[in-house]
Each structure stands twice: as C-alpha cells, then as structure tokens.
C-alpha cells in the first residue's frame, strides 16, 4: 500500500525543514522518497493548510513499573472521576493522574504522541516495567535502567574497582533489564535512606560505604559514555524540592567535567532561598549554566495546577515530603538492595505561593534556555502534572499573552518573585517540533524515528493550524504509527502494538563471575532468572524489540 500525504506544511527539524509545503510518501510502514516513474497511490490525504510533524516522543514519562501501579492502586477515588468505556476498537480503563495502560496508549496517541520512555526502570522491577508497557497500545516504548543506589555498585566503589569493571556492570545490567539508557536518582540517597540518613548532599558520604553522590555521578556518566550509549546519563539530582538546591544543581553541572549528562525535571532542582518566604527562582542561573555547558541537556518537569500523584524512586525525598500528601496517604518502599520508591499524591494550587512559583520557575527555564535541542518538554508525568496537560503547556510556551493572563491570576507574592512577565519569547512550531520530536529522538539515540525524511518509520502527526495552540495540539487530524492510521480527529480508530527500543552494549562475560556469587549469597533470585530474555517480549505475539546502534567507542 502506497500512501501519499499531499501538500501539508512540514516541520521536520531532523532534516532542517521548517514549515515547508511537501508531500510525504509511505510504504511498508516507512517514509519513502517519491517513487520514480509511473506509480499508483493507494490512499491520498489532502493536507493543504495542515501542519505535519513526526509523531511526538515523550522522553521522560512514568508509564511502566511498580511505583506507577502502586499509584494506581492507591487512588481509586481519582479513577472514579475519569472512567473510560471501551468500544469495538479500544479497551476500557481509567484516566486522569494514574491512567490504566490501555488508556495511557490511547490518550498519548490522541495527542499525536507515538513513543514514551519510562525513565526509572529498577533492574529488579524491569520485568514489570516492560510487562506494563507491553499493555500500552500504539506507542513505542523503552526504559532507562536505574543504578546508583544498588548495593552492588556501591560495594564496587568501596572496593575501588576500576572504571572498566564498572562499565562491564553497567553494560551487563542494561542488557539484563532491556534498557536504552541509564538513570541515577538521588545518587546513593535511596541507599543512604536505608541506613537512616535523611539527606545526602553532593559531597556527603553514605554512612556505610563512604561513597558520595559526586563519586557515583562521575563513574556512571563515564560508564555511559565509554560503553557507547547515545543517551547521556539521566540524572535526578540530590535534594529534590529543597529550597536552595540550585547550588547543588550548579555544582553537579560543573562537577561532571564536560561529560554528557541529562538533568531531568530540573524545575524541582532550581530553587533559591531568597525573599520573605525563603523560596525563590533559580531558573535564570540554571538556564545560564545550561546555555554555557554544551554537554548538558535538561527536561523541565513543569508543574501545572490541580490534583496529581508524585511517583519517584527517590524514597528519601518522598518520605521527607509526606506531610504534603493530598489526599493524606502515601507509600514508600525499600526495594531488593537495588533501589526504592515513594508515591505521594499531591495537589498543586495556584493560590499557594510555593506551587505558583514552581509553575513560574518551570516556564522561566523553558524560555531562558536558548537551544531547543537541549531542553525537553515534560511534566515528569505524573509528578508535575498528568501528560494529558501537554497541549496546555505548549500554549503557555507559544502564547505570551495567554501565559501572562494565567500568571496574573496566581498567588500575588509569587508573581513578584518571577521575571516571567518580562520574558517576550514565544516558542515557534519548529522549536516545539525539536523539543518533542527530533531532539528527543536524537538524545535517546533512536534510529529512523523522530524525522520525516525517507527511511524513517512513518510515525506522523497532522494538525490543523490554530492560533489557540492548546486546541491545536490536543486534537490532531490524523496520527500514523508505523504507517498505519491510528487516530482521526483526536480519536483512536485503530490500534496496534509498538516496539520496545533497546541498546545492547558489549561487556566482558567475566562480569558474571562476581555477580553470580553476589546473587547467590545476598539476593533472593538466581542470576540467570534475573536476566530478561527476548522471548519475554515476543511470546504473546504482540511485542518486539528494536536494537539501536551504539556510539563508536574510541
């Protein structure tokens, strides 16, 4: 079947195309060049006046894994407010802050998203993450495996194992857990909490291991680079949510010494201590540091007002914040000498000074970072807001008047503490396309995704241009996934199963010798049973794996 998309205005930053009228041809799920000679188009879509982008990619969204399922089970009252009936195409489920897997897939697709990446895959919980994502229809998915609070790594650091040994362990874990990236959450802090430490600054030692967060960041960022992973180390830094944590964040950026590093949901790490309430915006300093240090990428973790639930691996900080739980119930877990998690429902209020300023800090960050290839649009779903609020967020970025109208309704003291009203910048469609498509694909290292040139998979979203950007982005005219039409007028018309994106870095097989002894002695599972096999993805006939290339390693 040959499909032709005729006459749309194409925004394809991956090819440097910025709002140019172009035809797109699709065959066998992929975008092809215009066929040479005589050819017959089987299906043509007239897209004159429409905006064409590749399918959006959420590079940080909590859509798979145990903490998400805890959040679901914790919040029946939220599900009851958003029941979703099934039909002859779609399964039923629930929506809002902790949507069921099927509804997650449909709602992402209905906003024009075709891929989502779970950023916090605990190695020991990776099976669950993949099984949950295996029940998310339409989307491609993948995960960043979490290291840094696992006792095995900390023991290696205490034993002064060399970088090569750590590289092998990281590469082995990525293969075992079927990951495409590596994340570190409150480096070493989740572990320190198990020893009853309640905070861990960048240079503070774990009381048992004597290892600091800085040590952990250094070896992991190095490992990721040296084993050839495209995706820079994904860092949820120290001191999340703590006023004054801007100093830690700036120090983290400086301290990494030029290694590639991605600082995630940086909004939560950009707080100063100025003003009457000892809480202020550090966005300008953060943006300046990001602009200056080309090795750094960030996503924002924008907060938006309303009910949500925070789900994080950072049980140290989640426990510290439990008094803010709304409704007043919360969960933390210590997990398998591997990691932990914390789930705290939260309601961001526009008349609360801190929440209002958090909102402004996120937007300041978006608007003050110059390079859209190094900043990504996230709410850290569901931590800052559910992913369904993205169209609203895009409007805030693209429409200064709208942004300032919202700002003028917020807590008055917060308005005084932000420079937001003075920032004129409005994001362009091309910049949105970079942040949510081409940039994300490039960052993660996805081959043949995130672009519209020939050879790319035909993940394509078509919008009707509308000055109200929220309306435009919440209801695409068409969404194609791998060349199949899955959404028309913002509603799923057809479902399919996406792939799981992974990398397979090389490692010395000898790494298993020490690991096997460790597993047998201290863990509760056999090493060979820990490793996830390919057939676990494929045996039910739905899932499959796509392995992406590694960077060449010098």
């Amino acid at each position: 079947m040959l499909i032709k998309l005729t006459g749309g205005l194409v925004y394809d930053p991956a090819s440097g195309v910025d709002g140019k009228q172009q035809d797109i041809y699709i065959q066998h799920g992929k975008i092809i060049n215009k066929p040479i000679g005589e050819f017959q188009v089987d299906k043509e879509y007239d897209l004159k006046g429409k905006v064409v982008m590749s399918g959006a990619i959420d590079m940080h969204t909590h859509i798979g894994g145990g903490k998400g399922n805890i959040a679901r089970m914790l919040l029946p009252e939220d599900h009851r407010l958003d029941p979703v009936a099934g039909n002859h195409i779609c399964r039923s489920g629930c929506g809002h802050v902790a949507p069921s897997t099927f509804i997650t897939g449909y709602r992402y697709a209905e906003m024009g998203y075709t891929a989502g990446f779970e950023p916090a895959v605990l190695p020991i919980n990776a099976r669950q993450a993949h099984m949950e994502m295996g029940d998310i229809p339409i989307l491609d998915k993948g995960g960043y495996v979490m290291l840094g609070s696992d006792d095995y790594l900390l023991r290696m650091l205490t034993a002064k194992k060399d970088q090569k040994a750590i590289n092998d362990y990281v590469a082995w874990t990525m293969n075992a857990a079927k990951a495409i990236g590596v994340k570190v959450v409150n480096p070493g802090g989740i572990n320190a909490f198990k020893f009853n430490q309640r905070k861990l600054d960048l240079d503070e030692q774990n009381s048992h291991y004597g290892v600091t967060p800085r040590d952990i960041l250094q070896v992991l960022a190095t490992a990721v680079k040296e084993i050839g992973i495209s995706k820079p180390l994904h860092v949820h830094g120290c001191n999340l949510g703590v006023p004054g944590n801007i100093e830690t964040t700036l120090d983290t950026i400086q301290g990494i010494g030029g290694l590639p590093m991605h600082l995630t949901h940086i909004q939560f790490h950009s707080y100063g201590t100025e003003g009457d309430f000892k809480f202020s915006s550090g966005a300008a300093q953060i943006a300046e540091a990001v602009n200056k240090n080309k090795n750094i990428t960030i996503d924002v973790g924008q907060i938006l007002f309303g009910q949500t639930v925070t789900a994080s691996g950072d049980n140290m900080r989640q426990h510290a914040n439990n008094k803010f739980a709304s409704p007043a119930k919360w969960v933390t877990m210590d997990i398998e000498c591997d990691s932990g998690c914390g789930v705290v429902p939260f309601k961001y209020k526009d008349q609360n000074f801190v929440n209002a300023l958090q909102w402004a800090i996120g937007l300041e960050t978006f608007l003050l970072v110059d390079d859209p290839w190094r900043i990504f649009l996230t709410t850290d779903h569901p931590n800052g807001a559910p992913f369904t609020s993205y169209p609203h967020l895009i409007r805030l970025l693209m429409d200064r008047t709208f942004r300032n109208d919202v700002l003028s309704t917020l807590h008055p003291e917060a308005q005084k503490m932000t420079t937001l009203a003075s920032i004129d910048r409005e994001y362009t469609l091309q910049e949105i396309a970079i942040m949510t498509r081409a940039g994300a694909a490039k960052l993660i290292g996805l081959e043949n995704r995130g672009g519209l040139s020939a050879g790319n998979w035909a993940d394509i979203t078509i919008y009707t241009d509308n000055a109200d950007r929220q309306k435009m982005f919440e209801k695409p005219d068409y969404v194609f996934k791998d060349g199949e039409l899955v959404v028309v007028d913002g509603k799923v018309v057809h479902t399919k199963w996406g792939t799981t994106h992974i990398v397979k870095p090389n490692f010395d097989a000898g790494v298993e010798k020490d690991l096997r002894t460790y597993f047998d002695k201290y863990l509760t599972m056999k090493l060979d049973n820990f490793k996830i096999s390919d057939d676990e993805f494929t045996e039910d006939g739905r899932g499959h794996l796509t392995t992406h290339p590694l960077n060449s390693v010098a």
Binding site: L74, P76, H79, L122
Partner: protein, 423 residues
C-alpha cells in the same frame, strides 16, 4: 529424563527459584529445595487432558465455542478464581471487558485487608532481599510464618547478610500466634520471643503497642493477657532497631475489619520512621494472588473486584465478592479460572459454569464446560509476582504436556465473542 535446575515456583508466593526438578515424561519430581508447599504443587499429576462439555469429552474448539455461547447473552457474568500467570490475567481481563463481567480474585477477602489500609493511609514496606540483608528485629504478627513459608527462616534469615555481622543474633518476636515449630530458633540457639494472645485480641494489643511507640502513657497494666511492660519492651526494641521489619499474613487476621489492624501496624511503622528505619512486610501472593492484583491494577486501575458491566471498570471491594453475587442471584454465569491448584474448586452454583483449571480438578457437580489447562511454570513459560509485589519471576516450561495455557483458552473464547460482534 532431564534434570532442571534453578526452577522458580509460582506456588509459594516467595518466588523461590532454587528448586531442582526431575522431569520424566509427564512426571515431575522435586529433587532438592522443595518444601511442604511447593513439592506437592509441582508433583501433582496430569489426569485430564481433554476438555468436557457436560462431562463428555470434546475438542478444545468445541469447548471454547460452547463457553462463548454460554457467555454470549449473559448480563452479569463473574470471572472468579483468577489464579494464573500474567498472560492468563491479560486474557481474563480482555474477556471480562468483552462480556461486561466482574473480575474477582480468589483470595481478595484476605488481600482486601491490606488493600483497604493502603487506599486509606498508605504504608512503608520492604522486600525480601532487604529483609534478608538488613532486618535486625522481626516482629511476626498473628502468623505462623513457618507453615506459611517452610523455608523462610533458612533461606532469608539464618544466612550471610551484607549488613549484619551475625545473623543468628537477629531478634524474632512473635506477637499473637506462637510458632508451630522451631524454624525461628537461630542456628546458634537463640529462640524467638513469643508474646501470645488470641488472634481476635490483636486489635487491642496492636493499638497499645502503637501508643507505646508514640510515647503515650498507658494506664492499664495488661491487655489481652499481655503485660503492657512486655509490649513496652517490644516498642523499645523496634525503636532501637536499625532496620526493624513487621510481618503478617492478612489471611491469618481472621476477624472482622482486620484492615484496621493492618492500618494500625502501618501507621506505627510510619511513627517509628520518624527516628529510625522500620518497614512492613505483608506475606501473601500464593497461587497468583499478587499476579492477579497487579495485572488487574494496570489494566483497570483497581487491584481486584472490578465490574465491567457498565462498559468501564468499577471497583467495589465488598459488593463484587463472587459469593455475594452468587448468593444474591445477581450473577448469571460463572467462569472459574484456577491454573495452579486442582483442589481449589469453584463455589457451588446452579448458574452456567465454565471451569478453566488445572488438570485433575474433580467436581461435586460437573460444570457445563471444563477445560483443563497447563500450569504456568510447569507446562508453559510465564510470569508470576512474588509476595512483595516488586519482583516478577520468569516461570519455566518443564515438560511438553500439550495442555493449552490459560491465556490461549481465554483469548480463544474472547476471540469467538468478538467475531460474533463483528459479523
């Protein structure tokens, strides 16, 4: 004859994966690391291999078609048992969505005691490897731990640990029920402390313990036959512990509104964490209990007791109990899914009944349709959740029995109904 090592068990809830099993044709024999729970469950022989309609042997296709025809015009079928692997639950939930059925996990009346506490106030819990490596004080509430998990002490407590110099010195405290054997006595001879009371008195005892943890003054000198000073000593031990763990089986808390006891325990653990570390460790998860809750959770938003009758999932932890629905005459068909335990037969009912269950199940009253299925982890690969809800174990296929999986059967029934809708 083949010998298979490192076999994981879906039966015990602990995710034990060190069994060595000998397979000889259709016969399975546990050679090492078995226990009173796992060995009989693995060794249970295959008897039925053919599906039956009203007791008469038929092909799988005929059985599936008849099951679909029984479900086709129902208004409120109940799919109960839900004892299977992840793919089996996926198929089960798809069928429920298709037919507007209620999904009711077999042991939810027990699991509910934990889930209600979770949904009202939450908890701080831990997992098996943390218990193994960190726990210095273990309080066992109302539970005979060694009959629940015969190898628990041997495998997870009397071993080498990363953060304890001498694991034989761990403090084990039984509160309520006394242990049935001596597994809790450490290799160096240190015996568990046993503070006994009747199970139904645990709400009072736990309430006093929590008050003591919080430093409140107790005027009474004893509660349910236990000296308050003894409870004060336990509270002190928990406060002084580096990593205390409190464990219970919800099933053993066999009195009304035991969820309030679970909640008091969980809130007490939160209180302890103001100064030290302490975690809850609810025991459970046998025969796919946690698997059912997990898959139902991510598919519907709710762990169990979900009705799809209105087209969307609706949760009621009390009204959607299979027995209530059958007794009140609300349900109009029963699907019983039990791939692990041939002795766990469906509840008595005169309604049309479809049983998808482990080979060898015998019935007082033959169901309309019986489809024997393979057991996950013996007859086919699969996934099952361990008691701590975090670790999913990869189940192995041990033999070629040609029995279909639960997923194959339920997907086929669902497919049948889907085609009828489309045609």
């Amino acid at each position: 004859m083949t010998e298979i090592r490192d076999v994981p068990s879906p039966f015990c809830g602990m995710g034990t994966d060190d069994l060595t099993i000998e397979v000889n044709g259709q016969n399975v024999k546990v050679l090492s690391n078995g226990c009173a729970v796992n060995t009989p469950a693995f060794e249970h022989p295959i008897t039925d291999i053919k599906p039956r309609i009203h007791g008469k042997e038929v092909s799988l296709d005929e059985a599936v078609a008849h099951a679909a025809s029984l479900l086709k015009n129902t208004n409120f079928p109940v799919i109960s048992g839900c004892a299977t692997d992840v793919n089996g639950m996926r198929g089960l939930l798809a069928l429920a969505d298709r037919t507007g059925a209620v999904v009711d996990n077999a042991n939810f009346n027990n699991a509910r005691k934990n889930i209600l506490a979770l949904q009202d106030s939450g908890w701080m819990n831990t997992t098996l490897a943390e218990v193994k490596n960190r726990c210095d004080v273990l309080v066992v509430v109302g539970t005979d731990l060694e009959s629940f998990a015969p190898r628990f002490f041997e495998k997870y407590l009397w071993n080498e640990a990363m953060f304890l110099e001498n694991t034989s010195e761990r403090d084990i405290i039984y509160l309520g029920t006394k242990p049935s054997g001596t597994a809790s006595t450490s290799p160096s001879g240190k015996a568990a402390q046993v503070v006994e009371c009747a199970t139904e008195n645990l709400p009072d005892v736990i309430a006093v313990l929590r008050a003591l943890v919080k430093g409140q003054q107790i005027l009474a000198t004893s509660v349910a036959g236990i000296l308050v000073s003894d409870l004060a000593a336990i509270a002190q031990k928990l406060k002084e512990a580096k990593y205390g763990v409190i464990t219970w089986t919800a099933g053993a808390l066999n009195y009304s509104h035991a969820e309030l006891t679970v909640q008091t325990l969980c809130e007490m653990i939160k209180n302890l964490n103001e100064t030290t570390r302490c975690s809850g460790f609810p025991l459970g998860g046998k025969e796919g209990d946690q698997t059912a809750n997990q898959v139902c959770g991510w598919t519907s938003g709710y762990a169990a007791r979900v009705s799809f009758a209105k087209g969307y999932p609706a949760y009621d932890p009390f009204l959607l109990d299979t027995h209530t629905l059958l007794e009140n005459g609300e349900a109009d068909a029963l699907v019983w899914v039990q791939a692990f335990n041939a002795n766990a037969t469906p509840p008595k009912t005169s309604l049309p009944t479809i049983v998808v269950a482990r080979s060898g199940m015998t019935f007082e009253k033959e169901p309309d349709v019986f489809i024997p299925v393979g057991t996950p982890g013996i007859d086919h690969t699969g996934h099952a959740y361990r008691l701590d809800n975090v670790v999913a174990i990869r189940l192995k296929k041990l033999r070629d029995s040609n029995l279909p999986s639960t997923a194959t059967v339920l997907n086929a029934i669902e497919q049948h109904l889907r085609e009828e809708v489309v045609c």
